[in-house]
């Protein structure tokens, strides 16, 4: 089976666009965080993907190589903290938390506002 023929429409997508909140680029393995309890699982240099961030997500952000959020503008938590940490950040990336799965290897191009999957975690 063609590896791109996935059942879910969102899962077929390999590229997500959003708004650049902090420029730069990075590659890394995705960690989707939708629950605060998962913050402690975050590993150094992973790419943090979340709907948005609340104050406790900073623990993961300081380890992240890049941050991608479904929501938020350039004055959102994620944007403010990413700029201070000097890491790439893309906000308003719509369904990023649905499209990316834990273990996907992605390239975050926060100069263009594009996140692309290099390798699916299950491929």
């Amino acid at each position: 089976m063609n590896k791109f023929l996935l059942h879910n429409k969102d899962e077929k997508k390999r590229v997500v666009k959003g708004v650049v909140a902090s420029k730069g680029s990075a590659q890394g393995s995705v960690r989707v965080i939708t629950d605060l309890k998962e913050v402690s699982k975050f590993i150094e240099r992973e790419v943090l993907v979340s709907e948005y961030t609340n104050p406790s997500y900073v623990k993961a952000m300081i380890k992240a190589s890049a941050v991608v959020t479904d929501f938020g503008g350039i004055t959102s938590h994620a944007a403010i903290i990413s700029r201070e940490l000097g890491i790439p950040c893309i906000v308003s990336a719509k369904n990023a938390t649905k499209i990316f799965k834990n273990g996907d290897v992605v390239e975050v191009d926060a100069n263009q506002g594009i996140v692309s999957i290099i390798k699916r975690g299950d491929e």
Binding site: P55, T75, S92
Partner: protein
């Protein structure tokens, strides 16, 4: 009323610029409107009556506040509160009076800063260059290579503030500058009111100032809420960093790390505590935080900064009416665009959303 007044035009332009930069947003633990609806009219009328009684005394009292509080919480929020009081409480703040209120606030800001009062020039200079230089010279300088630990510390302080002041009312973080120090540029981030009395948090430092000195020109801009926008390549030109904790210089990274741990720990306790609070308690805390940020102003009038009983009574009478009405169901629904917010905070109309 026609807004031909340059001060009002600048005020509205600053709001427009701020919203332009804002974009979609998801708030924690409540969205705008969910808490302010319970008190902002009462609060605004209180301030406005003082203003009408004695304009000069009001200005002196307002000058005791920090610029973040004045620019955002003492300006557009108050105009909206007055419009709400006009529309729903039978109050009568005229457009001319509200315009004069904005002018008075502009006069206060003009004496407190050495840059545009509404940050239209992207700057927020709360000190003269010479004062900034003198201050920085007395501080221990960390090498640019130490920036990671210091930037983590700063991020932790920022997130800590969100956990004690909530997103909507974060007033304790302020970027200021840029200052010219010799041929270099210096910017500063100040965190204040860290010892959160509202939450009975004690034994933490109350104020931290972080000074960053850069080589050459920097692309760094602040808006009306004193949030800075810059790109990470800014850090490549970092020359050195200085830190003051409660006005005392910090001279080793171990202390920075210890402070980071302390603030992280309290922040996480706060997030757990707040996530477990019923909405009524969050509303109460929100109101108390708002009044507390104006405590110096109230003290100037020898008044308490405790919210008036009517605010608590509203929570009892109206229950979760406003909390539910402004609940953030969809991010897109909540961001109607810059024209909406410009109208909302414009004293020349009755629009309240």
């Amino acid at each position: 009323m026609k807004n031909g007044d340059p001060v009002i035009e600048n005020y509205l332009r600053a709001i427009e610029k701020l919203i332009e930069r804002g974009g979609e947003k998801k708030f924690w633990p409540f969205a705008p409107g969910q808490v302010d609806s319970y008190f902002i009219d009462v609060f605004s009328v209180n301030l406005f009556e003082k203003f009408k009684r004695n304009r000069e005394k009001f200005k002196d009292a307002f000058a005791t506040l920090n610029t973040t509080v004045i620019r955002w919480f003492g300006l557009p929020y108050v105009i909206l509160g007055l419009k709400l009081a006009n529309n729903y409480e039978g109050y009568c703040a005229s457009q001319e009076e509200m315009t004069d209120y904005i002018r008075a606030v502009d006069e206060v800001l003009s004496k407190k800063v050495y840059s545009d009062p509404f940050c239209l020039d992207g700057q927020n200079k709360t000190m003269l260059d010479q004062e900034a230089k003198d201050k920085f010279e007395k501080i221990h300088r960390f090498d640019a290579r130490d920036k990671k630990a210091i930037n983590i510390f700063s991020s932790i302080l920022q997130s800590y503030l969100w956990s004690i002041e909530f997103d909507a009312f974060t007033y304790g973080a302020s970027w200021h500058g840029p200052y010219t120090v010799d041929s270099k540029k210096m910017i500063c981030k100040t965190y204040s009111d860290l010892n959160a009395q509202i939450w009975k948090i004690q034994n933490l430092p109350d104020r931290v100032d972080i000074f960053y000195l850069f080589e050459g020109d920097i692309d760094w801009r602040v808006g009306l809420m004193e949030l800075a926008v810059f790109q990470p390549d800014l850090w490549d030109r970092l020359d050195s960093i200085g830190i003051l904790v409660d006005n005392k210089t910090v001279d080793n990274l171990d202390n920075v790390q210890k402070l980071s741990e302390q603030f992280s720990q309290v922040r996480d306790q706060q997030v757990s505590l707040i996530d477990g609070l019923p909405p009524e308690e969050i509303i109460k805390k929100g109101i108390e935080i708002y009044y507390f940020m104006f405590r110096n102003f109230f003290e100037f009038y020898q008044e308490s900064s405790k919210p008036p009983e009517v605010c608590y009574q509203r929570i009892k009478d109206d229950g979760l009416k406003y909390w539910n009405a402004f609940k953030q169901e969809s991010v897109k629904e909540l961001m109607p665009g810059k024209d909406f917010f410009k109208r909302l905070y414009d004293p020349s109309n009755n629009f309240t959303g």
